[in-house]
Symmetry: C2
Subunit: 162 residues, 2 copies
DNA sequence: GTCAATGCAAAAGATTTGCATACGG
DNA sequence: CCGTATGCAAATCTTTTGCATTGAC
């Protein structure tokens, strides 16, 4: 067992506590959705999550996934990552302490999370000038993979040119 | 007439030239949509644009607006501003030379455009590390208007607490 | 005249919601 | 037991698309 970071079981207890503290019920479906999210090593969509949740508890419905996502987001246990497509991505918020920026590769179709600690300061500075209080921030870089286009293969994603 | 910046008429000619150069046709509908976009001082949605275009040429259909938007965006004459809602915003790209960040106020429901010249550098640096070439970037700060919540009115937007 | 552009209406696709039922506390 | 959470299916809402017709060049 990993001595440094919390186990999924421990985090699941945090989730249970969160639900209880909000007067929400601890249901099998919610736990299955939580587990599915934490099993996922990467970014996932609501649909991905539905599929994986159902492998754990096949009674999970799409509606329940969509209703659970805001709860998980509010609990801070997962993070919403909107990169401007017509559907949203999410990811387990395992141990991110600093602000994360995203680099989205249009060729690899992959999202990289990058530490961007200075963002904390930046957002506050700008918002202050307008007399506003920062609620959230996002910094996204959309990019192209030259390697894929030139060499025909991308080492990072393993994707080959089509 | 303004001696410093281009008139809308001049920019419309640029649009016509752009269309011709791409082998696209200069239609009344496209010009009406262009004019509507440039009459709009602020951010607007596709639906806003449809409404205003129809005041100029009532034959403009929703489909044509949606088909014109990517053309206008590609021409660089308007800019797409996706702030993570389920619909996109657009705005006339009058004279922006430096990178613009957005501050979105959840209370005023207003989008402020802010110069963020350092972003050019930042995006390139991060993408370089991954071996990627920057295609586009976005930096957005979501904020709350304390003034509105405390004093009940926001000077900036003129909005009153409900 | 030719073929791109248009309007219309239907389709698409992610997310939300109404409602009767199931189940957690 | 009470009331929240669920599944299902229908609804929503923006954006896209197929097709017959119109109009730019």
């Amino acid at each position: 067992m990993d001595a440094e970071s919390k186990t999924t079981t421990e985090i699941r207890d945090t989730f249970k506590d969160f639900l209880s503290s909000k007067g929400l019920r601890v249901t099998n479906q919610r736990l299955a959705i939580f587990d599915a999210a934490y099993e996922h090593p990467d970014h996932f969509t609501a649909e991905d999550l539905l599929e994986r949740s159902r492998e754990i508890d096949d009674s999970v419905s799409r509606a329940t996934v969509y209703r659970a996502l805001p709860i998980l987001t509010e609990s801070g246990l997962i993070r919403e990552v909107d990169v401007g497509r017509d559907y949203k991505f999410y990811m387990a918020n395992r141990n991110a302490t600093t602000f994360q920026a995203q680099v989205i590769c249009l060729d690899c179709d992959k999202i990289f999370e990058i530490d961007a600690p200075f963002m904390e300061w930046y957002g506050k500075t700008v918002a202050d000038k307008l007399g506003l209080n920062v609620e959230s921030q996002r910094l996204q870089v959309t990019a192209r993979c030259d390697e894929l286009q030139t060499a025909g293969i991308c080492k990072r994603s393993g994707k080959k040119a089509s």
